[in-house]
């Protein structure tokens, strides 16, 4: 029941919000419900929760089944932490029809939690789409100038990808022995070699677009730039994890042979994406675009590590799923505060933040260091394991991937230098003390960065069972 309630609370809260016209009240409802969800998520992550299982569509033998293993737990935790953080830090941003905005955000959260909990392929697909549609409206209504065309591109891209996955689901479903969508039946489906390759390609397309992997990434930087900040945070902190989640939960266990024979191909694509995105990030002047490209690079590393088929790679990714979410969330929030107060995202126009607002500058530096994966920060643990795995898989690829660390240092430190140091620019001069709640949230996030960096065992404990399932036969 715990798992069902974590899905129904955001859904009901969203419907209630549609009828609450008052901005303050809407904020309270959204923040309140998301904090309740966070509490439930902590409970699930640390105490576990029983499966929820009910009939859904009898004639297809599809079941409404929710399960929470280590992989699901860590992502639920990330989702549940992200939403209250986003709601609190953006609560002062100007938005028309705020209640509708918050309602759509909570619908998105329902979809995301559903994706991570679903133990039935059709249900998984259902939530996968459910997470996308509210985002389409969020970006198109509240986004930047070019929002309509860009969001549409994003929507068509991902929608087409998920349709491919739907065919994949049909393909596997038809070949299951008991005609069921359960993940266990999918694992034991009788697929010929050709069918397995086809199904692999179909699933992979959907996940590759969502992550995104080079060369399917073209929707992403534009979409991040044009979306309202709160949505960008959801997209980059949580939504990209859907693709990685799909690979860990469905792709690798279902089609191990096809995954192994295509490992080189996927890893090379991922690494090209990593280096390519890093170089573009170096050239960016817009903070939002820089973070977007940096995020592509980090996701690329994770997808490369997944296909090495090693347990340390998997362990690294499981940790990094969470850490990357927290770090990128912190960076976005700082960037958003700066943009809200100075009205610009251009690094040329900024400078001297350390003199004007030292607290904010310290927070920025903290998250920037985590973004480079410096020891003591959370990302270090994950990325160390990831590089280790890629190096074991193929030293040349490992070396190639290693370049990205240097590149990450270049663009991140460059950003810090331009924003925080130097003489105080006109734009920075407009900065005021950010509101208390935003500062508090940032400090909590930074706390998480260092606590899980120094003592990653918390996260290892949560994910231990997934690792065992995948690698100890």
């Amino acid at each position: 029941m715990l798992l069902l309630s974590i899905l129904t609370i955001p859904f009901i809260a969203a419907i209630v919000l549609l009828f609450v016209k008052h901005n303050e009240k809407a904020n309270y409802i959204a923040i309140g419900s998301s904090v309740v969800i966070m509490a439930l998520a902590f409970n699930i992550a640390f105490n576990g929760a029983a499966n929820f299982d009910a009939d859904w569509i009898l004639s297809l033998n599809a079941r409404f089944i929710l399960t929470a293993d280590g992989l699901a737990k860590i992502l639920i935790l990330l989702t549940a932490i992200s939403f209250p953080v986003i709601f609190i830090t953006t609560s002062k941003n100007e938005l028309r029809n705020r209640n509708q905005f918050l309602a759509l955000m909570l619908f998105t959260q329902t979809g995301l939690l559903g994706v991570f909990l679903a133990g039935d392929a059709l249900l998984f697909y259902f939530f996968w789409e459910l997470a996308l549609i509210p985002v389409y409206f969020l970006c198109s209504i509240w986004g930047g100038e070019k929002r309509i065309a860009i969001t549409f591109k994003f929507f068509i891209y991902t929608f087409l990808g998920s349709l491919f996955m739907l065919i994949g689901i049909i393909l596997v479903y038809t070949n299951t022995t008991d005609h069921s969508f359960l993940i266990t039946s999918f694992k034991h489906a009788n697929l010929t070699h050709g069918q397995q390759l086809a199904a692999f390609a179909l699933f992979f397309t959907a996940f590759a677009i969502k992550m995104p992997i080079f060369p399917l990434h073209t929707w992403q930087p534009d979409a991040y730039e044009q979306s309202p900040t709160a949505v960008t945070m959801v997209l980059s902190a949580v939504m990209v994890k859907m693709g990685l989640y799909g690979i860990i939960r469905w792709l690798l266990p279902l089609f191990p042979a096809a995954a192994a024979s295509h490992a080189n191909f996927v890893i090379v694509l991922s690494l090209i994406g990593v280096i390519y995105a890093s170089f573009i990030a170096i050239r960016q002047d817009d903070v939002k675009r820089l973070i977007a490209y940096s995020s592509i690079a980090h996701i690329g590393l994770m997808s490369a590590a997944l296909f090495t088929n090693t347990s340390i790679g998997m362990q690294g990714v499981l940790i990094q799923l969470f850490s990357h979410g927290i770090n990128v969330l912190g960076l976005w929030i700082v960037a958003d505060i700066i943009e809200q107060q100075t009205g610009t995202r251009s690094m040329k126009a900024l400078g001297g933040l350390a003199k004007k607002q030292p607290t904010l500058a310290i927070l920025l530096v903290g998250f920037a260091l985590a973004n480079i994966a410096l020891p003591l920060t959370n990302a270090f643990v994950g990325e160390f394991l990831i590089f280790n795995a890629i190096f074991q898989f193929n030293p040349w690829m490992g070396a190639f991937a290693g370049v990205s660390v240097v590149l990450a240092a270049i663009y991140t430190l460059n950003m810090v230098q331009k924003i925080a140091y130097g003489s105080v620019s006109d734009a920075t001069n407009l900065m005021q003390v950010p509101n208390k709640s935003a500062q508090f949230v940032l400090m909590v996030l930074l706390g998480i960065v260092f606590v899980t960096g120094v003592y990653p065992q918390v996260l290892f404990n949560i994910t231990a069972d997934t690792l065992q399932q995948l690698f100890v036969k």
Partner: protein, 462 residues
């Protein structure tokens, strides 16, 4: 048999109602009550409570699926009349006569769901078509309506001619009009191919494709749908088309082997893919929503043709779900369109601000047409794809289908974008509260079926 008799009687009654009363509201309500009587009569036969039957010498055969399809199509017609009653009044001054025409069409439909003889197929199609020519030209002072009607009549008669020729060929080959009359090899007693039979079936195939507006026999559709009064287009594109599909399947379910199995798996995918191609690609370029819906109905026909691919219970389930999802959503969109003063996409600009509920409903209907999850349209597409895959279709066919599904998202969403993301002042006729409430009924049905699609099939099994 109940449905055929009752619908005929009701048709005749409606013809004379206008003598008794000139109050259109009363006429409308009599029509609606008649619809309920018809539905009840059919349900009575379905459950074996009361059914009038006489020996038709194998002309008609009533089975569970056919009767169930009747119920579904009658119910959709009821919803259609219930929502659009007042709009029908506004066209000409023959309200009662239109209802008579609707009942005759439903009579044709009940024949098409139960024929067991090619002559009955012919009669059913004619009973269905001739009233439609009248409805198309109902707005007799409008040139486009006249043009559409004439075009429809000429093309329709031509295709009926082809149908007859096909039936004649089949008669020549088998010596019978009976639907399931294979030509057997006297030595082995196994069915054999026969040239006349194949040629006859091919002609039947062409003619049926014409009736369901599948490419390359679709050319009449956009003009007729565009020219006919919008409220009647809504009916033609949904219930009538669905009945066409049911008849199409009935013929080819049993007879496709006679066409030669290889022929079937070559020509059918050809027709499907070209229908999807023509419908979807042309719809992208339309500026008028009404015309866009006409092309989208061609595209949707392409999806429904998939039901012919296999030969299993999956297909029937898929087709029934598709008919319901597609018909209800289309009736909904047309019901909104009727209230617009101008049919261009731009006229929807800013509708979400002016009338949020109406914009939400339209979005939901369009989502269902596009096959977005949480709406019935998604499961309709899913069941269809599942059915053809089970029937042994290649993955390429599924990939083509979903590529075009993605294209369809493009043009359906153009309307959504106009409503939500573009500023503007849409010109709409005043809408009463009750009208919006009726549309909510459709929306709720679509949502419920979007989560529990199997509700629709429970009757067939339990």
């Amino acid at each position: 048999m109940n449905a055929i008799i009752v619908s005929t009687l009701l048709g005749v009654i409606m013809m004379f109602v206008s003598w008794g009363t000139s109050n259109t509201k009363l006429q409308r309500n009599i029509g609606l009550v008649g619809m309920l009587v018809l539905i009840l009569a059919n349900i009575a036969q379905m459950n074996g409570w009361l059914s009038v039957n006489f020996d038709t010498k194998g002309m008609l055969a009533f089975n569970a699926i056919g009767l169930y399809v009747n119920t579904i199509l009658f119910t959709i017609t009821f919803i259609y009349l219930w929502i659009n009653g007042e709009e029908i009044d506004k066209i000409g001054n023959h309200t009662a006569d239109y209802y008579a025409i609707f009942f005759f069409i439903l009579c044709g439909i009940s024949i098409l769901t139960s024929f067991d003889n090619l002559l009955m197929l012919f009669i059913g199609i004619e009973i269905l078509s001739i009233p439609l020519y009248i409805l198309t030209g109902a707005d007799k002072k409008n040139l486009f309506s006249n043009e559409a009607s004439l075009k429809y009549f000429l093309m329709g008669s031509f295709s009926t001619g082809i149908l007859l020729l096909g039936i004649a060929f089949i008669y020549g080959a088998t010596g019978s009009f009976h639907l399931n009359m294979p030509i057997l090899n006297p030595a082995t007693n196994l069915p054999v191919e026969h040239f006349l039979m194949s040629a006859g079936l091919l002609l039947l195939f062409v003619s049926m494709n014409f009736k369901v507006s599948a490419a390359p026999f679709h050319f009449w559709t956009p003009d007729v749908y565009d020219g006919a009064p919008t409220v009647f287009t809504s009916f033609m594109a949904t219930v009538v088309k669905a009945a066409g599909f049911v008849a199409f399947i009935k013929v080819f379910e049993v007879q496709r082997i006679a066409l030669g199995q290889n022929t079937w798996i070559i020509i059918l995918p050809f027709v499907i893919v070209s229908t999807l191609l023509v419908g979807n690609i042309t719809a992208v370029f339309q500026r008028s929503v009404k015309r866009m819906l006409a092309y989208s109905s061609i595209a949707q026909a392409g999806f429904m043709l998939f039901a012919l691919y296999g030969n299993s219970t999956f297909n029937n389930e898929a087709l029934i779900l598709y008919i319901v999802a597609y018909s209800l959503a289309t009736i909904g969109v047309f019901a909104v369109l009727i209230k617009m003063k101008d049919y261009s996409i731009e006229s929807f600009n800013g509708l979400a601000k002016q009338n949020p509920a109406l914009a939400f409903l339209t979005t939901l209907f369009l989502f269902s047409l596009a096959g977005i999850p949480l709406t019935a349209g998604f499961f309709a597409k899913y069941y269809m794809l599942n059915a053809i895959f089970t029937a042994g279709a290649g993955i390429w066919l599924l990939v083509v289908a979903i590529l075009f599904a993605a294209v369809s998202v493009y043009y359906y969403f153009k309307v959504v974008q106009a409503m939500y993301f573009v500023e503007g002042a849409p010109a709409i006729h005043p809408i009463e509260k009750s009208y919006a409430r009726k549309l909510w009924v459709i929306a709720i049905i679509l949502l419920v079926l979007g989560v529990f699609p199997s509700l629709l099939f429970n009757y067939l099994y339990f």
